[in-house]
Symmetry: C2
Subunit: 185 residues, 2 copies
Amino acid sequence: MSISDFLITLVPFTPDELNDILSHFKKESVAKNQILVRQGDVCKFLYFIEHGMGRSYYLNENGKEITQWFFGVGKFMTSADSFFQQSPSLYYLEVLQDSLVYSISKEDIDQLFAKYHQMEKLGRLVTTEMLTKIVNKLNAIQFQTAKERYDYMLAEFPDIAHQVPLGHIASYLGMTQETLSRIRK
Amino acid sequence: MSISDFLITLVPFTPDELNDILSHFKKESVAKNQILVRQGDVCKFLYFIEHGMGRSYYLNENGKEITQWFFGVGKFMTSADSFFQQSPSLYYLEVLQDSLVYSISKEDIDQLFAKYHQMEKLGRLVTTEMLTKIVNKLNAIQFQTAKERYDYMLAEFPDIAHQVPLGHIASYLGMTQETLSRIRK
DNA sequence: CCATTTTTTTGATATAGGTCAAAGGAAGCC
DNA sequence: GGCTTCCTTTGACCTATATCAAAAAAATGG
């Protein structure tokens, strides 16, 4: 899904608005395993994934990587709190496959928010969707067995679930990789 | 905190805008234990809590109440997904103490979103704040021990933690009330 | 295509927190 | 102010999942 298709399905931008908005996004190819943001850095960009996938993760007290979220095709990827507050990121942002993304800076998106009422609406809708998805994850994590949590993963990220290392998924689901391996049988 | 104080700390509304916006909120007294929305109903209103507190909860497969969120003074309370999508609510919304709230309907708030660019921004900011808070809860639930989860509760809801039945808090934190009772000692 | 590294699976054992049952306390109500 | 209902604590036992260790399988790179 292209970024302009994505935008117009959510909000009825005029062609002029759409062109102006798109002109602030920069197309980038990013190689597999590239780190876009490090824990402690300020996240400078918001990325739209046209092709590929990524994840956010952090290092826990034992230095283990804990996946916090997966980002697939047609989604915005960023370290949300860091990007919007321009505060140090709690997470790494990593690209998991060679990807094609469109990036926009905080200043540019703020300008667009201020310039276009409809852009502000887009921001609200995208944030609301994310909120709903996080609530779903929370319910899965909080009250479901390991098996059910894996089913949630398959439903939420069907395209991603079979393309990333099992350890990434296990930490995302709050279980060990041994447990996930046993479940998958 | 009054609703108008709350609004202007987030977004610089003009006095006229503020008056118009406030005129769409209706002041209501709600008695303790009153249910504002039932699971399965469409949530018709968004509530701002000027005084009091509430929670959202659902009934799990065994018919047990599972608290999903607490809402304190100076917060918006609603069944977010149901209200914004006008879909059946997954949650009950219950007032936990005699409360003073300001309510606004979906149609009215949509009208305000459409009318005022700044109102749309308010919506985005409030949603973003909620998103951040849910991520915090998720991290507490997913990776912390029962003891640490209770500490998170005390930090996130200091005013609420000591005023509601222990069972509500236990289910919110994803543990049994027996476990929470043992921890509290 | 072999060597090395990474990822996944399997097995044995440990434990945090759950479940079930029941007793104490506290609070609302006539 | 006693009755009833609700809320909290305590005890005994159990289970899902973690931890630790190591083998097997798959992927990567020169």
